[in-house]
Amino acid sequence: MTISTISVSDMHCAACASKIRSALAGLQDVRATHINPVRRQVLVEHGDAIGTLDILSTIESAGFTPTLAGLDDHDARQRSLLKRLGVAGLAMMQVMMAAVALYAGHFEGMEAAYTRLLQYTSLVFTIPVICYSAMPFFTSALGSMRRGTALSMDVPVALAIAIAFATSLYHTLTGTGEVYYDSVVMFTFLLLGARYIGNRLQHRFDMTSHLLSALPRTATVERQENRISVPVSALVAGDMIWVSEGAQVPVDGELDTQTAALDEALLTGESDWVHKTAHDSIFAGTLNRGAAFRMRASRAFDQSRIADIAQLADQAAVKDAPITRLTDRVAGVFIPAVLGLAAFTFLAWQILSASPERALVAALTVLVVSCPCALSLATPAALTAAMTRLRQLGVVLTRGDALERALQVDRIYVDKTGTLTDDRPRITSVTCFEPAWPEADCLGLAAALQRYSSHPYARAFQAVATVRTFELTNVTTVTGGGVAGSLSAHQVRIGSAAFALDADTEDAADQAVFLSLDGAPLARFDMTNRIRPDAAAAVDALKQRGIEPVMLSGDSTERCAETARDLGIGFLARQTPEAKLAAIRADQAAGRTVLMLGDGINDVPVLAGADLSAAVVEASELVKSKADVLLLSRRLAPLVDLFRVAAATRHITHQNLIWAALYNLTAIPVAALGLMPPWLAALGMASSSILVMLNATRLLAAAPGTAPDGVAEMEA
């Protein structure tokens, strides 16, 4: 199966979306179509029987201009729109001046010759607006009417402009009746302005969510001892790349220089810098916060982790939630209803007042004011903004309805103990056995030995300040055992009891490290895994939301109990996958909604059993993961962000829907009763969609960890 992502720049509303959906449904071998009207993207899952070209031509024959995603020329589109907007704006100023004079003349009396002069002046300035500025509305409306399946938003718009202009033209040429040039130009100007601003906002969504656009275009590569600059797309595995101070890593690879400090925020959302040593993996998109370093590329650019994340995030953004489809259908019936209502308004006024003038104005106002743009943008705009923000916080949603489901969750099973405890262990106590060797000396010797080890426990020793230094020779490391070396004539060893003491000590805890001198025990170091500093805060935040975290672990009961007690959460120890699944089933039967935080790949059945699944994923596993929510760092805090953003999104979506519905419900009757001037209708319609988009952008500013003022109020 192949997935083609296509941008359709002239898909302005939900009605267009449903039209494209039905056009693609006619194509054979199309499995599914996902449409995001906000980002104007269509994602088609199809078999090999058809290619991307077939899909492009199908959408084109449905009357749209599709391009392959990424090739969509936003700048050219905006330039053309800006020119049309500028011409309409200049014309509007002139026509309004003439209109003021005409209104004044209407009340104060004006010689017929001057009235006609001003009317013709307005006509001259309106012609470029009709022939140039308003052209996109006409072409789009005509295209939509030719196909006739579902009428697009532009039909009532074009109709209103055309009728008002034609009537005014007739009145001007015959020298009878009112002219509406001012309404025509103002309406066109406001609508173009709304579209221009809408495009800019949408572009802002795209830029913040599209990670790849933030990456460097070229990289400095070492070839035959020369450093040359090559395009990132030309990099291959094995290239030696120099990353200068403050620069971004262009591809995934491993560190060749001894150390490097990297800022991985773009990938994980974690703002602390990460220190890497030689041969550690480093990822494209991270920032070099230390000195310049050299790295060896391990994958081509388009296979890098960041490219995977971008692909996943794109798919999720387009896979629309059920509520989006509902508004699709609503808008599909809305436009014919609007046209019918406008016709009814005209007839009613015509019969009741016998004044075609007033009937026409009222009908035009209804056409203009009732555009369901705001209604159809309300949900997708908020969803898109929320997903973009979550990605910045290190959470990738792989399905659009994950946010809606997250709101129902009231229990979390944490199977990934690493999200609760630090992977850097700590020495809790030191027991010395030889009076000649005090604690400081034992620690110093241990640290000297552990310097050669790569075991996680060894790091704990390196963090300890040593008083005495020891010169060691003949140091060897034994995997699964420890480190051995010579201190002058003595043999010293550090490691597990079995390794250091040559003893079969069953009773020794597995979390202790022994130091020995010629086989005799010198000291015993008890180790523990520390609770992550942010875990307790995250657990508290979850509890405040009425969500109960429970730790699941395959570890022994005592170790689990200790961690769980420190965090104040429940636990289930020594769990097999079957037992985990049974625990989830039992909770679901008791009416709970369960989120399972697991391991991406190993726990697939358990994850699938939960109502919502989240996985901590690393590097190459990303695309394989089947979880609904992917956490890009080993922390619990992003999960709190998920719930917080989900609540804020619901709130903003509701605000948007209520606002859009209220606007349409109040504006239409007022317009039908003839109480609203056409310019106010144009302003209302243009500003209602922009308001909905702007409201959604508030989600982009949701701060991590603590809720910003606005969001906190909203959730209350």
Binding site: L90, A91, Y114, S229
Partner: protein
């Protein structure tokens, strides 16, 4: 008020010039990335890359 008969065509010409200038400016990317130049100081000078 006969002066209007002269002034209105003059204003039409002036507006035409204004519109032409605006379209010229847009076509020459005068409105692209209006905040870009504020960030120029952070760019390394071209030509001193090794």
């Amino acid at each position: 008020m006969e002066v209007l008969i002269v002034l209105i065509p003059v204003s039409m010409i002036l507006v035409g010039i204004g519109a032409a200038l605006f379209i010229w400016a847009v076509n020459n990317n005068q409105f692209e990335q209006l905040d870009k130049h504020g960030f120029d100081i952070f760019e390394e000078d071209s030509g001193d890359q090794s």
